[in-house]
């Protein structure tokens, strides 16, 4: 940290003299005035020419340094250097309809973001690099909800992930990743969002990239094309996630009607909308070939209707179950419209536990963690929500703190 004295304010930058006697250009920020003293960090530096290379020796030195560090990273994998530049070890794709793909490093921090369609560009202009993947996905879901990409009718979110790079503990890594993403997104279940988790791998990623489609959509394509070989990847690219999910469900229904003896294991999505994770034994359907490690029990988690699942969990005829679940879904959708309108209030409610927790520090850690995330959630909201909500929540918080 440094202290700086503002000598001059220009259009795009300010000039300061620092407490260690340097004259620097810093980024301009709101409300800055000549003659003020400010605290600043390295990130506030105003950089125009990043690398003014004056002589060839310096350039060569930098080159050598880069080579050494790359060698170090690959050979010894010193990931302590990830502060400066992380190395991607996994890819996570998020399809709502805005499609995103993130490369993340060893500690689930985003090192690269790909916005794969126009919606994605509209939704989030923010640079996510360096943030925790869970936070990033959560905040995108929040914004998608606000901007009505996610609604009670179109409530599917496809999260797909693959481990990249040639290291040996793939299986363990992908399990960890899956677990942390599922846990991280738990608290969105209030919103009745249907999360579909699709495990993928480097091979599929390569294919997806070649076709310029997100990993999640590519996985959906693989599922659809098994039943309907006429479908091509371009159709998939242009259609929304909810359509694809509906299509898969339709396909499966059609097949179930045509041939009642067919096993539901053929369709992992439908599977998961009927069974809870623990209700179905692990069976790997034949789809996907050698690359795809399908784990149907993990394929989708219906956060929507756990109680119903419990009721329906016992073995019944597949067809009936489909119908029943769909009925329930409809009822809940109606409820959800009501909920959606009162979202502001809901968020305020979510805040209260945080203050409770403050008074009572002995509370469960897990819970406080969730609160922390909720809190973050709220903050995100503060920036966008209308004044009414701000006023409410402000009152809540000050009352609590009294």
């Amino acid at each position: 940290m440094n202290k700086g004295f503002v000598l001059e304010v220009k259009d795009t930058y300010i000039l300061v003299v620092t407490d260690d006697c340097q004259y620097l250009k810093l980024k301009k920020r709101k409300g800055i005035k000549q003659g003020r003293q400010i605290y600043f960090t390295k990130e506030d530096l105003y950089e125009q020419q990043r690398f003014p290379v004056k002589n060839i020796g310096l350039a060569a030195a930098i080159g050598v340094l880069c080579m050494i560090s790359i060698t170090l990273i690959y050979n010894f994998q010193i990931f302590n250097m990830k502060e400066a530049f992380g190395t991607a070890v996994a890819v996570v794709s998020l399809d709502i309809n805005p499609s995103f793909e993130f490369e993340i490093d060893d500690e689930n921090r985003v090192v690269e973001v790909y916005r794969l369609n126009e919606d994605a560009k509209k939704l989030a202009g923010k640079n996510f690099i360096g943030d925790d993947i869970i936070n990033v996905v959560s905040s995108i879901i929040d914004s998608a909800w606000r901007m009505k990409y996610l609604t009670a009718e179109s409530n599917s979110v496809v999260v797909s992930f693959a481990v990249i790079g040639d290291r040996d503990n793939h299986e363990q890594r992908i399990q960890e990743l899956e677990k942390s993403i599922e846990n991280g997104l738990q608290f969105h279940k209030d919103r009745n969002i249907n999360f579909i988790y699709l495990r993928s791998d480097a091979g599929a990623l390569e294919e997806a990239r070649r076709n310029e489609v997100s990993l999640g959509k590519y996985e959906l394509f693989k599922i659809i094309s098994q039943k309907d070989s006429s479908v091509n990847i371009d159709e998939i690219k242009s259609s929304g996630v909810q359509n694809l999910i509906d299509k898969i469900n339709e396909q499966d229904e059609g097949k179930a009607n045509g041939n009642s003896s067919s096993s539901d294991g053929d369709n992992p999505l439908n599977d998961s909308s009927i069974y809870r994770n623990d209700d179905i034994p692990k069976n790997n359907p034949d789809q996907g070939g050698k690359n795809e490690k399908f784990d149907s029990s993990k394929h989708g988690e219906s956060t929507v209707k756990p109680e119903n699942d419990e009721k329906d969990g016992d073995a019944k005829e597949d067809e009936k179950e489909v119908e029943e679940v769909e009925e329930v879904e409809e009822v809940e959708e109606v409820d959800d419209k009501g909920l959606g309108e009162e979202k502001g209030e809901k968020d305020v409610e979510a805040e209260i536990p945080e203050y409770d927790e403050e008074d009572n520090k002995s509370e469960d850690n897990d819970e406080s963690d969730e609160d922390a995330i909720d809190e973050k959630d709220d903050m995100e909201d503060v920036n966008y929500e209308d004044g009414d909500y701000k006023y409410n929540s402000g009152e809540e918080s000050s009352e609590e703190s009294k």
Binding site: L7, C21, Y39, F76, N365, A372, M379
Partner: protein, 244 residues
Amino acid sequence: MRGFLNLGKHDSLEARLEKIKAGDEEEREKFIKEYVPLVIKTIVKITNRYIEVENDDEFSIGIGALNEAIDRYSGDKGNFINYAALVIRSRIIDYERKIKKHSNVISINQMEDEDGSKLQLKTDGDDIAYSLEIREQIQKFKNRLSEFNISLEDLTRGNPKHKDTRLNAINIARDVLKHRRIMEAFYQKKTLPVSFVSRELCVSTKVLKRSKKYITATILALDSEFELIKDYIKGWEREVKSNE
């Protein structure tokens, strides 16, 4: 090797936090000092404003939040930095909400109460006088610099990057200030007489030429009534010395 390095670093953070929680106040202070940039970064991200040294409520709340994060952190909360940033963010946002409410209350009172608003005006007036004075000082400094054909932009480019080079340049500036004949030539020619200084003070011309603008600016600052910038220079010299 990687495992070893990672482990070493990880352990030390955990161990340090443990130590602090056990009541090691010295360690806490050191730790907080190290994490001050995180606090500033997090606050600036929310407010999109610089934190002012004179009005640092947000800063102290940020530090308080960091303390809170240290006390409440446990291994199962994930990365400490993420967790701390989260706590800081929420405290700052709480504060901003409160401020907004509060400032509304004041403005209404002002409208009703004439005496109160007069009082308010008076303190504002003091602020304005103070900032006018500072502005005047800056303007004088800039005028002086431009007499010597130097702009503030030039200074940002000609910064001696290394701490020792800078300190050395300041020392040279101080020596020049003590030297009556050099100072005369300095003001007469409106430039630093490099070969003269080199001869009289036994400094290499290379050093002088490289930091010429910086040395010139420092001489001008030290030889003015620009107290704030003088304080900055003095303060830094003192700090460097005390660290040695």
